[in-house]
Amino acid sequence: MADLDRIYRLLFRIRRVEEEIARVYPTDVIKSPVHLSIGQESVSVGLCEALRPEDAAFGTYRSHALYLAKGGDLRGMIAELYGKATGCAGGKGGSMHMIDIAAGVFGSSAVVGTTIPHAVGFAYALKLRREARVVACVFGDGAVDEGVFYESLNFAALKRLPVLFLCENNGYAIHTHQRLRQNVPDICARVTALGIPSERIEDGDVLRIAERAGAATDALRGGESGPVFIECMTYRWKEHVGPGDDWNLGYRERIEAEEWIRSDQVARLATKIDPAARVRIEREVEAEIADAFAFAERSPFPEPEALHTQVFRESP
C-alpha cells in the first residue's frame, strides 16, 4: 500500500528544488548547464518507490529527480551546482554528474546512453555475488537511438541480469521529436524482440509507475527472471537545458503540454492527502530547500590544489 504522504513529499520536493534552481539561475550563482526535470518527477518517484536504499540507480544528465527520489543528499546536490567543495562531486562534476553512493545513486553522464552498460555491468556483479539487490537504469528516448542500447540490453538478457530498464520518454531529444529519429516509435517492440518483457505506461501516473516498477523489482529479486523494461511516457515542461520555457522556439506546440499539465502528478497527489499533512510537508520541504541553498552559498569553492587531485586513485 503506497504511502501517499511520502510520495507527495518526494514529488513536491523535486518540483520545488527545480523551481528554485530556475529562480536563482539568472543570478549566475550556478555557472553550468542545468537540465531540469520539471514535469517528469513522477517517473523517478514512482520508480524509486520500488527500490531499496541498497539498490543502485544509473541516470542521465537530467537526473535531479532521480537523484532526489533515490535519496541523494540535497545539500550536496545544490552545492555541486554552485561548484562548491561541499558538492556531491566536490565541484568536479556539475549538474550533469550527480552522484551519491550512500544513497545508491551512481554516476549520471553527459553523454547519451553511456550509463546503460554501466547498469548492466553492475547487475552482473550483483548476480555473480548472489546479492538480492537490483539495478535501475534510467535513460531517455534519445538513448534508444544509440547502438549501445541494443548491445547492452542483448547482453543483459543473455545473462539474465537483475536490471530494470526504464525509458523516460518525453518525446524529444533536445528539439527533435522521436518520430523524426525512430522509424517505428514503438520502443517496447524493439525490446521485446531482444527477449526482454516490456510495457508502456502512457499517463505518468505515479501510483501506476510505482506499482509496475514494484512488480518488476519483485521479479528481479527472485533472481532468474532476467531484465525488465518499462517505458514511461512523460513530458518536459521547460526548455531542454536551462531554466526557461521554449514555446517560442516552435519545435513543439504548447497544447501538447496541456494534457500533461492537467494530469500533473504533483497537483494530483496534493489533493489525495490530508490537507494538514500537506501543509506540514510543504513547510518542511521549503525549509530544507532554503537550508540547502544557504549551505551552497556559504560553502567554499575548492582549493586550487583540488585541480590536480583525483586524476588517479592511489591504491591504499
Partner: protein
C-alpha cells in the same frame, strides 16, 4: 572591398551555403543541424534553402551516421557531418580511423572519402569533463585524415570551403568561444588551403604558436610581453594536419625560443609534435629553448575557479615565454587587465 565583417558563426554558415549552392553533391547533416538553435546558428537557413534531403537532422547514432557519411562519399556526395561537441566523436572513432582515413590507401586508390566532420570544443560555463575536450591530436596521429582548426572568421570560411573541396576526410575543429568573434570575411568563395600556417604578429625574442582558441590568448600574451620589453612572434598553424612546420621552424630559427600552446593536453598532443619537429629540424643549427602549454593533466573541472587554472591563458603564457627568454623562473606574471579577459558566454549552454 574584402573588408566586409562577419562573425565566425556567419562565416561558417556562408561557406556551407555557398558551397552547397555551387556543388549539388554537398550535403549537410548531424544531430540538430535543422533545429531552432541550428548549431549555434552555423547551419541556420540551410534546410529552408536546400531542402530536407540535403540538410537533415539525424538520430543519435554517431557511429552509424559517420559510416553513412562515408557511404555517401563513396557514391560521389560530399557530406558535411556536424557534431555539437568534439567529445562525441569518441563514438565515431572506428569509422573515422579504421575506414575513412584508410580507404583510399587500402583500396589501392580506387575509392576516396571526401567527408568533412565539423565539431565544436566547449569551454567555460561548466562544460566539464565531457563537453570540453580538444581531441584533434588523435586525428593528427593517424595518416589519411586532415585537420584544420581555424581561429578567425576569415579562416573559418576558407578552411571549410577547402575541406569541402578536398577529396580526403577533413576534421574541422571549431571552438565555442570563437563563434562570436567578428572579422573581415570576403563574400566571394575562397580556400584557405591545407598546410600553410600564418605569422599573425611579428617578433624577435620568442615564438608563440597558438592552436585553436589559444591563439587569442597568445596575442594577448604578446601585448603583455611587449609591455615587459619582450618581442613575441605569434603563429597560427591554421591546419594541424598537414602541419606547416617550415613557417614555425623559420620563426624559431630566428627567435631561438618556442612556446607551443595548445587547446588540448600536452602529452602526445599537438604541442609535443610541434616541439619535436622543430627540434629535429633545427638541432645543431643554433641554441634552442622550447616549452609546451595546454590543458592541465587532469579532467576538466566545471567549477569556475578550477576551470580557470585548467587552461593556459594570456598571463600564464606571457609568464612562461618570459621565463624562457630569461632562462630562469623569474616569477613575473602580468597583472589582470580589465577588458583583456576573454569574451565568454553565459549559459545555459
Amino acid at each position: 572591398m574584402s573588408e566586409r565583417e562577419q562573425s565566425y558563426v556567419e562565416a561558417l554558415r556562408e561557406a556551407a551555403s555557398q558551397e552547397m549552392e555551387r556543388d549539388p553533391s554537398v550535403v549537410c547533416f548531424g544531430l540538430d543541424v535543422d533545429d531552432p538553435k541550428a548549431i549555434q546558428g552555423t547551419t541556420r537557413g540551410l534546410v529552408e534553402r536546400f531542402g530536407p534531403e540535403r540538410v537533415f537532422g539525424t538520430p543519435l547514432a554517431e557511429d552509424a551516421m559517420t559510416g553513412v557519411a562515408i557511404g555517401m562519399a563513396l557514391a560521389g556526395l560530399r557530406p558535411i557531418h556536424v557534431h555539437i561537441r568534439m567529445d562525441f566523436l569518441l563514438l565515431a572513432m572506428n569509422q573515422l580511423i579504421n575506414i575513412a582515413a584508410k580507404s583510399h590507401y587500402m583500396y589501392g586508390g580506387h575509392v576516396h572519402v571526401p567527408i568533412v566532420v565539423r565539431s565544436m570544443i566547449g569551454k567555460s560555463w561548466g562544460q566539464g569533463a565531457q563537453h570540453s575536450q580538444g581531441l584533434y591530436a588523435f586525428f593528427m596521429h593517424v595518416p589519411g585524415i586532415k585537420v584544420a582548426a581555424p581561429t578567425n572568421p576569415h579562416d573559418a570560411k576558407g578552411c571549410l570551403v577547402a575541406a569541402i573541396r578536398d577529396d580526403n576526410p577533413v576534421m574541422l575543429v571549431e571552438h565555442r568561444l570563437l563563434y562570436p568573434h567578428v572579422g573581415p570575411v570576403p563574400e566571394a568563395l575562397y580556400e584557405v588551403r591545407p598546410g600553410r600556417a600564418r605569422v599573425v604578429a611579428p617578433g624577435s625574442d620568442v615564438t608563440l604558436v597558438g592552436i585553436s582558441h589559444t591563439l587569442v590568448e597568445c596575442l594577448q600574451a604578446r601585448t603583455h610581453l611587449a609591455e615587459h620589453g619582450i618581442s613575441a612572434e605569434v603563429i597560427d598553424p591554421i591546419w594541424l594536419s598537414p602541419l606547416d612546420i617550415d613557417t614555425i621552424a623559420a620563426s624559431v630559427a630566428k627567435t631561438g625560443r618556442l612556446v607551443a600552446v595548445d587547446n588540448g593536453w600536452t602529452t602526445c598532443g599537438a604541442s609535443a609534435e610541434i616541439v619535436a619537429r622543430v627540434v629535429e629540424r633545427l638541432q645543431g643549427t643554433r641554441e634552442l629553448r622550447v616549452h609546451r602549454m595546454g590543458f592541465a593533466p587532469t579532467t576538466c573541472p566545471p567549477t569556475p575557479h578550477l576551470e580557470a587554472l585548467y587552461y593556459a591563458n594570456a598571463r600564464t603564457i606571457a609568464a612562461a615565454a618570459n621565463n624562457l627568454v630569461e632562462g630562469r623562473d623569474t616569477g613575473w606574471l602580468p597583472d589582470e587587465r580589465p577588458g583583456a579577459s576573454e569574451i565568454t558566454f553565459r549559459g545555459p549552454f
